[in-house]
Each structure stands twice: as C-alpha cells, then as structure tokens.
C-alpha cells in the first residue's frame, strides 16, 4: 500500500514538473537547475575523483550605430562575458567597449579641428561573492581616448532579508578623470596624434558616489527597486575646446532660439572666451524600477528624478513592454522621456562689456546638455531565441532600433536634434 502511495506521489510530481516546463520558461530553468544538481550529486557519488563544473558561462557581442541630424555618428562594438559559480555564489563579469565617434557638428566640440574622428576604449571588471545572504561586489572600470582618460573603482554590499523578499544594497564609488586636449598647434609637447601630453596639459575631475537601495518583491509577479545616489564632483569640467560667443546686452536680448551660425558670427562681440563652469557639484538622483510579469509579457518601468547644486533638475521615464510571441520570438516596444531645466548660469546669449576689461560672466557654457531641453525616444526590438528545443533561451539574438528627438528650448545654433540608435546583440550560454 505504502509503495502505491509513493508511486502516485512520484507520478504526480513528474507530471506537474512536465506541465510547468510547458507553461513557463522560468520554471524550466528552475527544473533544469534541480536536474543539474541531482545529476551533479549522482556523478560525485559514482566518480569521487572527478569534480563537477557547476559554473554558468555567458558571452555577448553587440554592435551598435548612432547617427543624428547634427552630423554625429558613433559606431560601438562591445564584448561582454561572465562566469558564475551558482553553488559557491561567486561570479566574475567583464566588458570591453569601443566607441568610434565621427563628427562635424557645431554642437559637439571635441577637438580644435572642425571635423574629427576619435576612438574611445572602455573596459570594466566586476567580481561578486555572495555565498549566502550577504554579498560583496568589487568593480573597476577604465576609459581611454586621446584627450580623456578615466578610471573608476567601487564596492557594493547586498543583504538578503525575509527569505530574499527584501534585498538591501549600499555602494561606494570613486572616479578620476584626466581631461586633455587634442588638435592644438604642433609643438614639442604634442603626441603623435597631435594631442598635448597629459603631463603638459590636463584637468583633473574627481567623482565620489554613494548609493543606497532596496529591492522588494511586491507580489508573485512584481518586483520593485528604489535606489538613491549621491555624488560629489570636484574639478574643472569645462570643455577645453568650447568657446562661448559674447554679445552686447541689446543684441543678446534679441537672439532667437536656434540662432544660426551666420547670425551669431555677424552679431557677436570680438571676444570669445573658453567655457567656464563651477569647480564642484553635488548631485542627488532617486531611481525607481518596477517589473511585472503578466501571463505572456513583462512590463518594465523606470523613473529617475535628479537634482544638483548647479540647479539642474531632471526627470527621466523609461518603459519597456516585452511580449512573448511563442517560444522563439519576443517583441518589445520601448519609450523614454527626459526633461530637464537649465543650470543656474545658463544663458542663450551671454553679455560682456567692452575691451579691455570685457567684464566676462564668471560662469558661461555652450554645453547644450546643461540647458533646458526635452527628449522623447521611441522604438522597439525583437528577441530571437536560438537555443535547442529543450532550452531556446540558451542563445539569444536581439535587434533594437530607437529614434530620438530632442527639443532645445533656449539655445544658439540649433533648436532640435533627431537621432537613431540601432543595435544587434548575440548572447550565448557556453
């Protein structure tokens, strides 16, 4: 009798597991993991001398292109890989990104020459150890281009509470930037690519950041994340190439939004000083994320509010709805809206006095990302799951295309910008 009961229980369990596999890919992965652990245990029992590899290895390759109406084109290939030992709670992740920027823009001023191409290399490495409920992550990153070198280090701690219904996180990061200059006149100090050596000219910007966050399971299909970031930045962030046109007070008052290059040239005063921004900034950002899994789709929402001591306030809203179209394809529409106010020293047209004193404004900028603007982004993408029949999501190809439109509300030269960013990504579990 007892044997019959056990047989019934076992049959029911197997049937439920089979049903679960058909219904939910997530359950499939859980079931797979259980089977993997069982098989691992069996192997250990039968062959004591052979170690079982319980690690998960993933690699991804992305190629992205950005182009906009302001004559900026960016080609960005990137490579990422990770290895995770599920049983021991250790993981290692790395990423390498290359940006090839080509621009002939009145807006982006990145070298002293009018048309330029520049290559940026960036890499990051992150190691996490989380054997039980407490975890610690150490991370580092590097970014290098001819006139800019930057590195960052950071650590983050996480603590699971209440059967992992709640996870607290706290992090600290430090970043150091050396801002140089390229395209200046030839001199003994210039490097082969016509850049001034960092030893001869560079500005240092240091950034310190703290964050506190909480991830909370809000229901059987809903999670929420809330993160607060505080950042302290010190150093001269002024662009060493950006010259700011000056006007007499009556001309400045009549400067139209998006005034053309010809209008500015015809009406500005002779002096054209370099940009100068304040030497320190404190910033706060609060980001909330919500993810909800419906029967056949996932909705992901994000909202970030931001404020800093330069008086720039911003709100960024991002929404993505990933809809399953069978086991092999998923489709997502994506929308994003960003709106911001101007920094306190922002002027469409700055006023200065006459030579020789000029009486220049202490702070002046032509960086339109410090001015009032809004950007709307819309697009979408497709996932193609390329894995085997038992696990289609083991390999994934994704295509994403987004269009962006920015309205500059109080600027010289341009009043709007349209852009397109597209990417092709292949992710594989090895």
């Amino acid at each position: 009798m007892r044997g019959l009961v056990w047989a019934l229980v076992a049959t029911t369990f197997v049937a439920q597991a089979a049903l679960a596999e058909d219904e939910n890919p997530a359950d499939q992965s859980v079931a797979r993991k259980d089977r993997g652990e069982q098989l691992g245990a069996e192997r250990t029992a039968h062959t004591e001398t052979r170690l079982d590899d319980s690690s998960e290895k993933r690699a991804s390759l992305e190629t992205a292109v950005y182009a906009d109406s302001d004559n900026v084109t960016v080609f960005t290939p990137s490579l990422a890989a990770s290895i995770t030992n599920v049983l021991q709670g250790a993981s290692l992740r790395g990423q390498y990104v290359v940006d090839v920027v080509s621009a002939a823009s009145a807006d982006v001023v990145s070298t002293a020459s009018p048309r330029w191409t520049e290559v940026r290399h960036a890499g990051s490495l992150e190691a996490t150890y989380k054997p039980r409920t407490f975890g610690i992550t150490l991370a580092g990153s590097l970014s290098s281009e001819p006139d800019y070198f930057s590195f960052g280090v950071g650590t983050e701690m996480t603590l699971d509470l209440n059967e992992k219904n709640t996870t607290l996180e706290a992090g600290f990061g430090f970043g150091h930037d050396d801002v140089g200059r390229c395209g200046a006149e030839s001199s003994a100090a210039a490097t082969p690519n016509n850049c001034t050596s960092f030893g001869v000219f560079s500005r240092v910007v240091n950034r310190t950041s703290f964050n506190l966050g909480i991830t909370q399971i809000l229901g059987k299909a809903t999670t929420g994340v809330l993160v607060a970031d505080i950042g302290l930045e010190s150093g001269d962030q002024s662009k060493p190439y950006r010259y700011v046109p000056m006007f007499s007070s009556d001309v400045a008052a009549s400067a139209p939004n998006g005034a053309s290059f010809a209008w500015v040239t015809a009406n500005r005063l002779p002096e054209r000083p370099l940009e100068q921004t304040p030497l320190s900034k404190r910033r706060v950002a609060v980001t909330g994320r919500l993810a909800h899994r419906f029967e056949g789709s996932t909705l992901r929402l994000e909202e970030r509010v931001y404020g800093d001591t330069w008086a720039l306030f911003a709100s960024t809203t991002d929404a993505r709805w990933i809809i399953d179209l069978g086991k092999r394809v998923a489709l997502w529409p994506h929308a994003r809206f960003h709106g911001q106010s101007a920094v306190s020293f922002w002027k469409r047209a700055y006023v200065s006095g006459a030579a020789p004193g000029w009486d220049l404004p202490v702070f002046r900028t032509g960086d339109r990302e410090l001015g009032p603007l809004w950007t709307v982004t819309g697009g979408g993408g497709l996932y193609f799951y390329l894995g085997g029949a038992s696990d289609p999501q083991k390999a994934r190809l994704s295509v994403q295309v987004d269009g962006m439109y920015t309205s500059f509300l109080d600027d010289l030269y341009i009043s709007s910008r349209s852009g397109l960013i597209s990417s092709l990504t292949l992710e594989v579990e090895l």
């Binding site: 997530a26 992205a64 809000l218 910033r283 609060v286 509010v305 931001y306 990302e369």
Partner: protein, 70 residues
C-alpha cells in the same frame, strides 16, 4: 531640494513595504523569468548615448568611469 528628494524616497519606501506581501521561494516562477532581470534593457552603446545626451546621471553602477565627452 535634497530634503525633498529624501522625503520622496522615504515615502516611496514606506509605501512599497506596506504594499508588498511575503512570497515564498516556490511561488517565484514568474519572478525568475529572464525578462524580469536587470540584464534586460539597453546595451552599453545606448546607455552611453543617454549619459551624454541627458544632463542627469544615477541609477547605475557605482564604479563607472567618466563619459569621455569633452
């Protein structure tokens, strides 16, 4: 401004904790779906474009290097 933001965080935190229910590990099949993880979203290129084009940062990793956008 900072006080307002912290008040907003505390309010949201309190509201979210009050709204949530305890979910046992065996009830998390939907939560474990791959599209529920943070790995889903924009790639490094799109993130960099947003970082350069928006005058606001935050919500990302603690060890980010500079944007290199001088």
């Amino acid at each position: 401004m900072t006080k307002i933001l912290f008040a907003a965080v505390l309010f949201a935190l309190t509201a979210s904790l009050g709204a949530c229910t305890h979910v046992a590990p065996y009830e998390r099949g939907k939560l474990a779906h791959p599209t529920m993880t943070d790995a889903i979203g924009d790639g490094p290129a799109a993130e960099h474009v947003y970082a350069v084009h928006e005058g606001a940062v935050g919500g990302g990793s603690v060890a980010e290097s500079g944007c290199g956008c001088n």
